[in-house]
């Protein structure tokens, strides 16, 4: 909605207070829903009372949250044009964080989908991908930078028309006491990239609107999400659709869980995670 000075009466404190308070309760296309149970878009099969995070993140914006172990996080690409760049940290010791190289190498697989553990560099699972009907994700190209967005779109600033993922991550990280040096390579969901035999990249893009991916937190996590165009998206326009985020209380993976413990590497990563939590009394 248009916001212009002529619509407001704010000459005195009393008028300004009334004007400010009159704005409460309005609805925007992209916003958090509080309490989370009030979301207009509850995920199918999820009891709204179990929700702990409900939000629509606009293209070119970001969000972040500390979530408990066992939280199930659902990311939905509403229009088929979102691209969710994600960083994860152990909330107890945030120098333990997503390690993309270990995630693809130890999983023996570059393309992320259901069952893939997202690993830290410390031999533990931060989160497991537990559902995915998109299959178009990327663990190779990271997110965009100021230099890349200035070259491609002419601007990269968070307050401008084409924010870069790294600049949004810097803001999200800062709100948890983390600095730019704390931003490792990220993964992204809803835009695919393939590798050709000569190593060249092939952008495969979106799987369409309404696709979702779900993660389960295996440790207490700091979650940072930047919703920006993929860095190798060939479109010259800064096109990025809304991202819907919902999270709810669920159960972490246990060693010997048949669906998520399919490989010896995942099994030992889960053992290491359980060992770490047991020693901390968690």
């Amino acid at each position: 909605m248009a916001k212009v000075a002529s619509e407001h009466e704010t000459e005195t404190v009393a008028l300004a207070r009334a004007d400010a308070r009159a704005q409460g309760g309005r609805v925007a296309d992209a916003m958090p829903y509080l309490p989370a149970s009030s979301t207009p878009y509850p995920p199918p099969g999820v009891e709204p009372g179990a929700l702990t995070w409900a939000e629509t993140v606009a293209g070119g914006n970001y969000t972040h949250k500390v979530v408990a172990r066992g939280t199930r996080i659902r990311l939905e690409d509403v229009t088929g044009q979102a691209c969710a760049h994600v960083l994860l940290y152990n909330a107890l010791e945030p120098w333990e964080r997503l390690n993309v190289a270990d995630t693809v190498k130890i999983g023996w697989q570059a393309y992320l989908t259901t069952g893939h553990p997202l690993l830290s560099g410390d031999g533990r699972v931060l989160a497991t991908i537990v559902d995915d009907d998109s299959g178009r994700h990327d663990a190779l190209c990271g997110t965009s930078t100021a230099a890349a967005n200035r070259a491609k779109y002419g601007d990269s600033a968070p307050q401008g028309p084409s924010p870069s993922g790294r600049e949004l991550f810097i803001l999200a990280a800062a709100k948890h006491g983390l600095a730019p040096r704390d931003l490792p390579p990220s993964v992204s969901f809803f835009k695919g990239v393939g590798v050709k035999p000569d190593g060249g990249l092939e952008f495969t893009g979106s799987a369409g609107p309404g696709k979702a991916v779900e993660l389960v937190a295996e440790l207490p996590l700091i979650v940072l999400i930047a919703n920006v165009p993929h860095p190798v998206d060939p479109s010259p326009a800064y096109t990025c659709g809304p991202l819907r985020v919902h999270a709810w209380r669920s159960a972490p993976t246990t060693p010997a869980d048949p669906g998520r413990d399919a490989t010896p590497e995942a099994h030992r990563a889960l053992l290491n995670t359980a060992d770490y939590l047991a020693a901390r009394g968690l």
Partner: protein
């Protein structure tokens, strides 16, 4: 290192039977040699390479992974970025001409010469903890590249927050059509080299990989030679 240590490091009798050690020399012509050091098997190494100067890394014993991180020497918050290097170059493999980019998208270095088909930047570093996932908890006592990086980074006031995904000179990590990937037998050999030119003053950290559970070192860790030559004025 002392002469006695250097002699031991360069004595093939101290490695697997049949090991050939070839020290080669700078991969680029001309240029005053500013630094010339041998890195013992399993050891870390670091140096600042100034803008325009060229670092040649020699795979002395063949198929020896040299895990490598680069930092802006004036501001180490700016450091090597695997995804920026891949996204800007449009290719997951590193070859002659590949610009090694920072997390800000800026060129840290450019590969100016390379004697093997492709170099790796997907496979990351080994480490004490990750070895337990990859091979089992019986390997937990073994030294890894992450430990080398942490030890060397500490000399510059850096720690775990500063260690990110890296380059692996002379390591071979193919990605197959279905996304399957992994470290396989090397395509390097004794005396093979790679050289890169610093595009700003860069701090170079190297871990001469100690891994003994996969073919990244031919199950036979051997030395690396590091030669910095002055760039053209």
């Amino acid at each position: 290192m002392s002469l006695a240590t250097r002699n031991a490091v360069l004595d093939p009798a101290n490695y697997a039977e049949g090991t050939v050690l070839d020290l080669a020399g700078p991969l680029v012509d001309g240029g005053v040699i500013l630094l010339d050091e041998v890195v013992a098997a399993r050891a870390p190494w670091s140096a600042v390479v100034s803008l325009g100067d060229i670092l040649t890394i020699v795979d002395v014993g063949g198929n020896q992974s040299g895990d490598c991180l680069l930092y802006n020497a004036q501001d180490t918050d700016e450091r090597y970025s695997v995804p920026d290097t891949i996204a800007w170059s449009g290719n997951v493999y590193v070859r002659t001409g590949t610009v090694l980019r920072s997390n800000q998208g800026n060129p840290l270095a450019t590969v100016v010469a390379n004697e093997i088909d492709r170099q790796d930047t997907i496979g990351g570093a080994c480490g004490k903890e990750s070895n337990t996932l990859r091979y089992g908890h019986h390997t937990a006592a073994e030294h890894g590249c992450r430990e080398n990086f942490l030890a060397e980074a500490a000399k510059y006031g850096m720690g775990a927050r500063d260690i990110v995904s890296n380059l692996n000179w002379f390591m071979n990590v193919p990605i197959e059509a279905d996304g399957t990937l992994g470290i396989v037998d090397g395509i390097s050999g004794p005396g093979k080299r790679v050289a890169f030119r610093a595009e700003m003053d860069i701090l170079v950290l190297v871990s001469n990989c100690p891994q003994m559970n996969n073919p990244c070192n031919d199950f036979n860790p051997t030395p690396l030679r590091m030669i910095v030559t002055e760039g053209a004025a």
